[in-house]
Amino acid sequence: MNEFLLAAAGFVLVTVALGLIRILRGPGDADRILAAQLLGTGGVAAMLLLGVATGLPGVTDLALLLALLAAFAAVAFVAGSGRGAAGGATPGVAEGGTGGEEPE
Amino acid sequence: MEASAIPTAWLAGLSAPGGVLLVVPLILPVVGLLLGLLLGGRRLGPFVFVLLSAGLAAAVVVAAAVVTGGEPMLYQLGGWSPPLGVALKADGLSVVLLLTSAVVTLGVAVYAQRDFRPPGARETRGSLAFWMLLLGVWAGLNTVALGQDLFTLFVALELLTFSAVPLVSLDGRAETLAAALRYLLFALLGSVLYLLGAVLLYGAYGTLDIGLLAVQIAAAHALPPSVLAAAALMTVGLMAKTALVPLHLWLPPAHAGAPPAASAILSALVVKGSFFLLLRIWFDLIPGLLDLPAAQALGVLGAAAILLGNLMALQQARLKLLVAYSTVAQIGYLFLIFPLAGTTSGPTWALSAGTLQVVSHALAKGSLFLAAGLIAKALGHDRIRDLAGVGRVLPITLLASGVAGLSLVGIQPSGGYLVKAALQGAAEAGGTWWWGLVLDAGGLLTAAYLLWFIGHALSGHGPHPATAKAPGRAQELVALALALGSLLLGLLPAQVFELISVGRVPPPEPIATAWAGAFHWGSLAAGLLPLLVVAVLVLAFGPWGGRRRPGPLGWPAVGAAGLGSAVGWLDARLRCWPVAGFSLLALVLTLGVGFAFGARACVT
């Protein structure tokens, strides 16, 4: 079974690797970030597979972190691309704290 | 020594429980950094002063403990012994660095009280940043001095770099920002190479502790390739951080652009941190390297640095750049000790010469940069040709420059003289007279540009004393004190120099007697004579007393101008980023291959 899971991880990796062609070819930077996103989701899957196959502790946490930060990568891209405003027509958000606080 | 039985016992008691004393120099700047941020820029100046005074006291106590104990102090942090834990060690070398950094930093701190005191009740940018970064540099240096683990030393080096880089750009001008960026990137390149070397050593021996590694490396039949590669990588990485020619691209703009107090620290101490690590690697970690022919390469680079740096300093129109290029040259002297260490006098002797040069240059260059800062502040510029009259406005400052200059040139009884005497002696003993030639040429060139600067400062009618801004008296006195310290280094009792041999194989002849023989007043005249010749030459060519440059010059002058522009071209090329990178790669490969062949030759 472990062999199968490893093979599956390898397969997912290869598909993700194919996706990396988008990084090479673009054409736009947007397409490149898509490949990075694919790597995020695929990476989560590959890590789960590897983790269960090799029985390493903590790999679930790693996948969790990757899932959490996959969105952060998208934020980095959006912040970098300097274009926002996909949603609300009214600028600014009505609610929400505005204190300079730390996130805990 | 016999009169100090009680302090000796006290020190022995203090160092007995594993030398917990060693933690003090490590902790003081660390706690200072943390509390300093809370205190804020308004109160930071006096706080740092108090802290540094305590640090100096701690360094003196450590030094006394090491000297009286006669052997290195060791301390195992957290009670874990290497290879698992990290050890601190204070041998003669560490003590010298601890003392030097405490003294110079304290001097700079006194000097900077005036420059970095917030004018109002509120904290300003400079007042927080300068003092915090100064503490950072001090923390890095103390850790470099005491660290015994290659990775701890890496972190200490980074601490040093991260503190030093923003010091360069403290005034916020675009040029200094660019200089800081260039410094940062090149220094990072250097640290990565160093780290790579450490990684290879761990791969080969499973430990990073210098002491344990040294034992294992010494026990090896032949130096394995990983050790040779690590040595090449670490050496070149540290050379890049020390700004040895041809890897000096970052130094002149960075050191010349920083505020004077920062320049003094950068030039006097920061480059010494990485050099100190180089000493640790070559003399403690892998002493076998000193016997390899590749050690000559370091000396050749050192000689090139002396010539190039001095010739470039001679051409500078701005005082701070002149001083910065003088640093490039003086770094060269540091590297002459590597080829000379394999001679009959033994490595410890060369090491003591190198250490002395570290101290002497730190004091002299600190003083010179502080003095240059005072001059620039008083006049509003630092163009050498327009310095006329400064001598009357800032007599003490100029005196300090002159005294520091004497040490850089190597006139009796300065520390610089002792260094040169020692290096010359080693060169003659080893039959390698050409090193001596380089030393002589370097001294004469140094004398030439310093006289050029001082001559300008003394000549003519300059600004009226009232128009120039008066510097703080304390600032001038600090510059003078550091310069005098450098000059009087040679008058220290000869036994002091035995300190350096604590913890290593003593040289065949005690260092004290060797130094004692090196110094006597009779040779002062012999040292001064070439200096006088240079002085006459400078006077002859100088545009003194309103006399501008005479029209057509003879062929010697044309030749000199040609040489000057050729050297300038060479320096400009070398300081291009790609060329410096190329040099870096070439050096790594040359040293690596050189080590490999040398090691094979040694075995067969």
Binding site: G10, G40, G58, V75, V78 | L37, L84
Partner: protein, 320 residues
Amino acid sequence: MTSALAVDAVLALLIFGLALWINAARTAYGAALGFMAYGLLLALVWVRLAAVDVALTEVALGAGLTGFLLLGAAARLAPDASFDAVGVSGKGSRFLIALLCAVVAVGLAAVVLVLPDPAPTLAPLVHANLARTGVGNPVTGVLMAHRAVDTLLETLVLIPALIGIWSLSSDPDWGGRPGSLPDLSSNGPLTLLAQVLPPFGILVAIHLVWVGAEDPGGKFQGAAVLAAMWVLVLVAGLGRAPRVTSQASRLLLVLGPLVFVGIGIAGVWLAGAFLAYPEEWAKPLILAIEAALTLSVALVLGLLLAGPPVADGGGVEPRP
């Protein structure tokens, strides 16, 4: 083992190819994007090297925060941004340098191949001495007990780095708030993300620090997650970074290292050495240090991302 080797080979090839592409990319922005993907791949390699702790750090710091930093800079800077616009012009010299780099790499590879076998290692020693540290994760044991001084110095390194970044403001701006982060407060989906994700991030971060004592995880990973979440909130305009002169934020900045140093100094009396822990108290003390360090490091990391201060538009007086 063949599947495993195939996975390794794919990973190694991907990493190398991506590195080459990053070097060859036409724009810095593209290179930064590539670097983010590269970091994720590298995390997979760390899993294959049985270093999950490192993989966590790589994902959080190497790919996440560094990628954010690089992307932000690449987007703001002109393509030929300043300084040394002279790369290497000539084809010949480029080739020469490439050749030298290749020789260095080959030499390095040769050295790596001849490293002694069996490899010298400290693993058994760490294993034997782990019980005395009270924690079950050997990496945490090494970081917090055996080589505590490295960790202390490393957290300390972040402070001059932050001061260095702050020092890049102009004098009138001192006392303002960090101003390098983009402002995307009018982006609806981003706002939603910044409203929904951070609580989960906090849970994950606390979880990482807590399990770090026994399993992979620890303060740096947790702190990086917290910092990422905080930056998300800042970017979405749901919060503001503290002023550089804020005493509260400075207190939090030094809290962790101070606790560390304090416990370390207390160790001189309580456990016989600086940075040593009394054996029965080792684990609680380590956890206390880790908790305090997490807060401090998270704040530093966030502030490193947030950049030097700029003056407020509102003209609010800086706190004294």
